[in-house]
């Protein structure tokens, strides 16, 4: 049943030939009649609820990126979810957010934010320190260069971003 919930194409094939899919999925004899009798509308609704819950977690983890995506966010996430493996383990939401950022980056989406990608990727792994050069720190509506440090100490992760000022700005100050 897990595969039916994950895979939209499989559900469409299930709609056309239930017996064949039950055989293909090698469903245990004791579960076959339950799976055969599934209501497709409900199955779709449950599958959609799984995507919706993933989407809500990712939106919460990368709020600035999500905000920048605006009304495109749901569509972009749908495209990402349809073409990516499902994240696993207790850090799956962080992994999901990191993979979503990577998807945006690969598609050269202008809404992609390197700082949020770096931060969720750091949280999703066990490293104790990570540093990245950013070119998209937004200060007064303009993108600036910056360095982001992510540190994990005694189980607590923190992030600091330092803006890099240009030589001209320093002279002006």
């Amino acid at each position: 049943m897990g595969l039916l919930l994950r895979d939209r194409e499989l559900r469409l094939r299930f709609e056309n030939d239930r017996k064949a899919i039950i055989k293909e999925l090698n469903i245990a004899p004791g579960q076959r009649s339950s799976v055969f009798g599934l209501d497709l509308r409900q199955l779709d609704a449950q599958a959609e609820s799984l995507i919706r819950k993933r989407r809500a977690e990712v939106a919460h983890l990368v709020p600035k990126t999500w905000f920048r995506l605006g009304s495109e966010a749901h569509l972009q996430f749908r495209q990402y979810a349809d073409h990516s493996p499902w994240p696993e383990g207790h850090r799956r939401h962080l992994v999901d957010a990191s993979m979503f950022c990577q998807f945006l980056r690969n598609n050269t989406a202008s809404e992609y934010l390197r700082s949020e990608h770096h931060w969720v990727s750091f949280l999703a792994n066990d490293r104790s320190f990570s540093v990245r050069l950013l070119d998209d720190l937004v200060v007064l509506g303009r993108e600036r260069w910056a360095v982001q440090f992510c540190v994990r100490w005694n189980g607590v992760a923190t992030s600091k971003v330092f803006r890099i000022r240009s030589f001209r700005e320093l002279i002006r100050r």
């Binding site: 009649s33 339950s34 799976v35 599934l38 449950q46 609820s49 993933r54 850090r91």
Partner: protein, 278 residues
Amino acid sequence: MIEEVDAESFVEVPLIGLAFRQPLADWILTKPDVIDCLELTAEHFFDGGEAQLEQLRDRYPLSVHGLGLSLGTPGAIDRKTLDRFKRVADLADARWISEHIAFTKTDEVDLGHLNPVPLTSDSLQTLIDHAREVMDLCQKPLLLENITSYLRVPEEIPETEFINGLCQQAGVGLLLDVTNLFINSRNHDFDPVEWLHRVEPLIIKQLHIVGYSFADGVWHDRHCEPIQDELLELAAEVVSYAPVESIIVERDGGFPPTDRVECELKRLGAACESARCG
């Protein structure tokens, strides 16, 4: 001087508690009077947070709630996840541990969220075996929770019979999620009170409650709304029917100011007290 009292005159009311979430952490750590107990989500402490957990343990009776053991999946429980769950339960000195009557993963895919198990004798046996394994390892009383689902799996065994059998044969209690029961009853058109009265009252040990959401003609469990009156009435019905020991308000988002959380907990406590006292 010791005064003799009539034990019959005492009515035990359930403990009222909250699911611990970071946005409320500072307030919770001040130990406000309205919070009797807390529920921690085990996965939130898999990667640390021991110092905070110890502070909470010193202030409240704790229960530890799991999301990812996937007790409804046939085959072995993921040992790494189970060991981490036990570690949190031990650190918390948990009074109860809990999980769901559900599966979140199969051999092929980790769906990451709760899904209904087929109500068959095979699934029942899987859940019984896994529940016993968790209790044997953790050495703490286990409660299993009913979930909400848009998918109604065809029943070989009626749901309430399945739950009664599971709790009695595995020796676990039921964590009855009042909101999930209400949402399922609306989405799948059945009477929640009739459903409740088919459940053996002695197995119901703890309740979950949070406001429901309603959108596009469907009820949802988004865990970010205040508790509605219908839910309070249903919770009171459960409290008058079963020896519920504690009730946990389980918000995941849309946190209001703490004075409003306080009001909600007081309102819930008052409803339960009047239900228990008749």
